[in-house]
Symmetry: D2
Subunit: 344 residues, 4 copies
């Protein structure tokens, strides 16, 4: 059980590692870092090398057992940044605990399958056990998962195996969905035996999953954020509730009003966004799925990012595109981390 | 002085003219149409043929003195639609009046210059005079203005003239800015003699201007929407106040709360959006101006559209990109049209 | 049997119909038009409204039984233009004959299936019969085929049917491939009973097919171009041979050398282009399938267009993207129409 | 005077440094490396982080005085790769010599100005002097030059200086043009006193310049490739002649026929490509400058790359976009490096 704090800093480019100096200035040491969770300014799709660049420059700087989760795409008003999840000073309880882990590497032909989902579920369950918390305490599970590239698809063929798709962009969605089912299973939102059928139906989801795929890894990076309210002395809180659709301001305002009730201050927002696959939002047509110039994930991040940044006044928020299985279709999971007022 | 009503319908494509049947079903006739103001699903930039297509199919259907204003770009959650501005039944006062007009054709080498601005100002002033209202009654001036194409730039050269730019995308911004200065001048927000210097400084603006450029016209189409509160009997209202930046939810919420105070129902939102030219929003970096894959106007529409659609629950709203001179830099004009409750 | 001529003119925009005046100036009448085959400057993908615009303005101008085939996308050096296929004056033999036809409308759930392929094959076979030629005389079959939009996918569901894909961009490829198999079947390049299995394997192809999908139609437009060498008196010729890959200059140079041998002059080139689905060209990696900013069809048109325009010195050529089943994987069909020298 | 060899290897991603192992396998050592010149698969524009990634991974691997020049953009058939320029074994003459250098950092407000051009010219002249060759021996000068980002533009303002443009994409063109004028001046193609006026007129050019801008550097990296034919014993050759326009196959075929005359084998092609700024190629319209979805530099690379790859059968060639001042407008410099047959 690791009590944690979260600190957030803007970056001037995906290669900018100066936030580490600000972290140190804030009184932490490099070995306190558990995870670096960032938004980089690429397209968030297959050929987003801003993520790889960030991972390349951050990897050597952080402890070996820390993980990085870089999500590409800061469309619209979103601002590139990194959030450090660090061990709290003297391991003093903060109200939040966290844990990080890795699955084994996923073979190209496993990507998006039940094997992929179950691999995530197993690792996650074991992490939850180690944290000594209940699945219901978990407010957010971030997974960074792999994708297929042209060369991985060919290597599958060479191995006599068939990857699920030969469309590299589509592989990102398949990877996110399998990871989300794994999360749903580990959190008790979905029975393990329903993973197979849910992969077919496409309509199962976790309310607390946030998955993001990238070319810069072969395994899955997993990050758990959970409430630790017994501890009582800390002031950090996380609350989550999925947006029902991409314009669900009501849910956002509800969570923010709970923050205000505790005279709290928002530390970070973790949101998922997607273009409703049915082509409609509350009955009216959207055009994200028929725009062949801009991928729908980019549209969705821009729109949901605009809403969330407007309502919080903060543009350095974690809005990730592609919400397959992470909230209901067309919606997305939403987690608000905040700091209560000392008086609350 | 023409009392008007506004009716809004979704479109299934830029070529969809079936809304005219819905207008007729709602009790209006084609000859009641004063203006068709729509959002089409192109890129909203130079080669946006969705606008031209809409104009091509709508032109022959509406009265000769009616105008069309199609703004391209329904990024994110925005939904393609048309708003009909129609003469109210039996010319009964509604609380709103409107007027439409055209300037003369703008020569390619005039585009974006003081001549362009003054041409807009003159036509607009004369339209305001004809409407028999005060500039302060005007809540919104929509201008559809021309842009430069490669062939217009070459024809300028052939005529021994120099167009302001050879960058076709940039010509859209220059055209919008000159048009906005013309509006500011006619509305008394800018002295006519300051037009020249404002073209240089780039920092003058109108709070009620909304300009949109397109390849489908050579002149400027002008639409005025004004309050007519003496009439008193009508229930339509328009209120406007510019957003200070792209995440200015406060202004939106303020206008919406005024609507609620009158137990009103939003009929339409007219908003302008732009990427702050300084690369910052409230001090943090945005990446809209350095994304070479997506034009900044597309980013800005998606983000501001997400905020406005979230707060109103309506995705069929008029959010137009490129707010040069239409609200402060990085912000944009905003006008809410609503219908008061009968009891209000 | 209709002897034809081909005349080609540049367009200043997708809405430019002035070429019809040039056709008349060249001595033809509107009723001589059999087909208008053009390249328009959209993205050539799902939301390419330049095609719809072209069809909207050209439709009312041409004879009712004439067809239009607009292929979107003039990437790189390619130049927007239209080619008129017209009845030769006094029906004098020219060396080439042509025919046009339509299939019935394809239901959304039929798109890309064996039913789609067989519908194309039947109509085409019947057209070949009517032309009184042998399948081996056919040098080129152009098919303009439909695609799926979000609303068609939903309407399928409403009808209790399942469209082949919910990915609108992918539906374009499925539609082209089924159409190509239909052509292969009608030309005797593929046994009808192999259509089903070829839809699975994805590796059958016709050497003379050129298919292009668009949102502007529900049926398939078919155009046949065939040699009529018995006639002997004419000077028009068409020769075809597929490019084996996207850099197959050898085939192009071979066809052009045959033109030169007859002291001929190229009238028009009809080529198909695609990104090799295996991600490799002659063993080295290409990045067209992993670029999430530009669709692979746009890349392929630009590259093959650059090669063909360079070798012919002509940029007003018909290069169409998406060569599924139209030439071997990674390659594409190629047809050169030329006019022999009078002395040849 | 450094006799050099050139070896070329494909890369599997911008982060792929395995080619260094192939270099070693081919008998060279890391300290032999003078320059790494590569094509990476980004957009080649402002936010191309594939270049930065390549530089980040290659920088630590190569000798301190070696330079990297990564040009972004492998549109169409182009294949990502790196070329090593290495000292020949035992400094044995090869027929080619090379030299690398850096200018001082260019301040944001100097970028694109005469100061920028003269800084390049001075460094280049001094490098030519050191090489002990004549300017006419130089076959190719590659310059990697900086660009403006939003933050550099703001830092200029903060320093009370005015950058030439606030358009980051445009800054790339200004930087390339100034660099090209510097090259033209140092090679004696342009009088130094004409630099100022040429910056205005935009029509001066060098036949042997190839400039590419990127966000990953502040100075200019310069690479010179020159003939050393006195040496006589070597078999490497470089010949150059600019393409007059983007479809100038004649020049390409001419250079390749000279290679064939010496029974040579092409080692590498260095080409520049651009969309003709006048919007026309040989009198017909192109649409690269009015496509707001794809930057014109991407179009131009794809098209010229298609032509060159077709004619050489090689897709691992260096085709760089943005040819301002590097060949006549609409054309681009072209240099073919080849190895003569031993018998020649």
């Amino acid at each position: 059980m690791v009590a944690i704090d979260i600190l957030k800093f803007g970056t001037s480019s995906p290669a900018d590692t100066t936030p580490i100096q600000k972290l140190i200035k804030a009184g932490y040491e490099v070995q306190d870092i558990i995870a670096v969770i960032g938004k980089t300014e690429g397209n968030g799709c297959v050929n987003d090398f801003s993520r790889t660049l960030a991972q390349t420059v951050w990897g050597p700087l952080i402890p070996e057992d820390a993980i990085t989760i870089f999500s590409g795409g800061t469309e619209g008003v979103l601002s590139p940044h990194v959030s450090f999840v660090v061990r709290s000073r003297h391991d003093k309880p903060t109200g939040l605990v966290a844990s990080v882990g890795h699955t084994r590497d996923i073979d190209p032909w496993e990507l998006g399958t039940a094997t992929h989902a179950k691999t995530v579920a197993e690792t996650l369950s074991s992490m939850i056990g180690d944290l000594n918390i209940q699945p219901s305490d978990v407010q957010l599970v971030l997974v960074k998962c792999p994708l297929l590239t042209s060369s991985k698809i060919e290597s599958s063929k060479a191995a006599g195996k068939q990857a699920l798709t030969s469309d590299t962009y589509k592989s990102m969605a398949l990877s996110r969905y399998a990871s989300a089912l794994g999360i749903a299973s580990a959190l008790g939102e979905l029975a393990e035996k329903e993973i197979e059928s849910s992969l077919q139906s496409g309509d199962a989801w976790s309310a607390r999953a946030s998955c993001s795929s990238g070319a810069e890894l072969e395994d899955n990076h997993i990050f758990i954020l959970a409430s630790d309210l017994d501890a009582n002395s800390g002031r950090l809180r996380a609350i989550s509730k999925p947006m029902a659709d991409a314009i669900d301001a009501a849910v956002v305002l509800d969570l923010l009003s709970r923050v205000r009730q505790e005279r709290g201050e928002v530390v970070q927002i973790f949101a998922k966004a997607e273009a409703d696959p049915r082509g409609l939002i509350r009955g009216t047509r959207h055009t994200m799925n028929t725009d062949s110039d801009i991928q729908s994930t980019r549209h969705a991040r821009a729109a949901v990012g605009g809403l969330l940044a407007g309502l919080t006044g903060d543009t350095q928020i974690y809005v990730s595109g592609g919400a397959e299985g992470q909230g209901a279709p067309g919606g997305g999971s939403l987690c608000v981390v905040y700091r209560c007022s000392e008086q609350a």
